[in-house]
Amino acid sequence: GQQVMQIPQYQHVQEGEDFTTYCNSSTTLSNIQWYKQRPGGHPVFLIQLVKSGEVKKQKRLTFQFGEAKKNSSLHITATQTTDVGTYFCARNNNAGNMLTFGGGTRLMVKP
């Protein structure tokens, strides 16, 4: 099926350390979206990547889309306690009307 796999499932870091989560697909992705869900909250859209090899930055967050459009990553530099939450990648089907989420990576930051 059109699933996306995320690793790791959990990550504990010390505040100030870097963090990376990976998203992989066995089939080519038309685009990939990233969402953040705080504990007890709802998913919040972060970014959409469309082009092969695309790299986008949002302050301390760097998003990459693989050259083959089968994988993506989210890297956070110098984590802060406000980064705590679960980060999801999500793929759209070809028609763009069905979003399939990965299992998420839960980030915990020790102050």
Partner: protein, 112 residues
């Protein structure tokens, strides 16, 4: 500008009962999608409504049905509730189908 709103916030139902959840999309959005999120898992796509029609459906049984009204608001109906239907039900709206989705706060459904 109000974001996506959902009602009710929490709901407790008994097995076999029926439930209706409601969603109002963000102003300017015309597409509504519904998701089921079990504890510790990613949201699972149920279906999407655009122009008052179901445009795409995920792997959910016919017990799950929906509706979109002319003002773009939407309802999710679940019949013959099972214990396994206990989850957070999220509504997300977007402008047409391909853009980022804005999620509502969700409805926490507990089936006993």
């Amino acid at each position: 500008d109000a974001g996506v709103t959902q009602s009710p916030t929490h709901l407790i139902k008994t097995r076999g009962q029926q439930v209706t959840l409601r969603c109002s999309p963000k102003s300017g959005h015309d597409t509504v999608s519904w998701y089921q999120q079990a504890l510790g898992q990613g949201p699972q796509f149920i279906f999407q409504y655009y122009e008052e029609e179901e445009r795409q459906r995920g792997n959910f049984p016919d017990r799950f049905s929906g509706h979109q009204f002319p003002n773009y608001s939407s309802e999710l109906n679940v019949n013959a509730l099972l214990l396994g239907d206990s989850a957070l039900y999220l509504c997300a709206s977007s402008f047409y189908v391909r853009y980022e989705q804005y999620f509502g706060p969700g409805t926490r459904l507990t089936v006993t």
